[in-house]
Amino acid sequence: MTVRLLAAAFDPWREIVRYQSAQPDLAGKFGATTVFVGTLRDFNQGNAVQAMTLEHYASMTEKHLERVAREAAVRWPIDDLLVIHRYGELRPNDPIVCVAVWAAHREAAFAACRYVIDELKTRAPFWKQELTEKGRRWAAPEPRAK
């Protein structure tokens, strides 16, 4: 199980392939892989977004991402989990976050992947500052889904 915070742009698909091939114990064990990739849109809350700065609280963010990942591994029978999250300057079309889960069966893989992305969005300390045609603004918090 791995959590990574990255300052620079990354290719989630390449990272997933690289991670999976570096885990020899996984081979033959998993029958399902689920992936969620979150990407920066060029619009939000009615404005065109030219860029976004994602501020975080490094030590706390890492701690809470790792905790969410551990919780998923306790709740569902999964074999492995990879979370990669960006911080810093992003441009539209840049991947922001990637969650990949390997499990014997799809039900656990889907459920764990969904749990990790939903929980990290409300618990991990990240703050979005968007650059729009009206200047820089801090994104307003969204109401919780549940």
Partner: protein, 78 residues
């Protein structure tokens, strides 16, 4: 004897500082730390953390702790 205080996002911008070390004398909880740093009462809509765990305003603070203040996190729409 000191407490490290950190500020993030709009709170950091409003106060004009990202981090400071304050004397722990006379500090008993999270709200006291904010009062010492910001010279105002702790607003209801701010979040706080003590040693990287979310904390309530009345949570005790001890010498050597790291206390942080920040707005609600903005992970995005579901």
């Amino acid at each position: 004897m000191s407490i490290t205080v950190r500020f993030f996002a709009s709170v950091r911008e409003r106060l004009g500082k990202a981090q400071e070390i304050i004397d722990s004398a006379g500090i008993s909880n999270v709200a006291d730390v904010w009062k010492q740093s910001a010279r105002t009462a702790l607003p209801d809509n701010l979040l706080a953390a003590v040693n990287m765990e979310y904390a309530r305003p009345d949570q005790p603070v001890r010498d050597g702790d790291e206390v942080a203040f920040f707005p609600p996190v903005t992970g995005g729409a579901p």
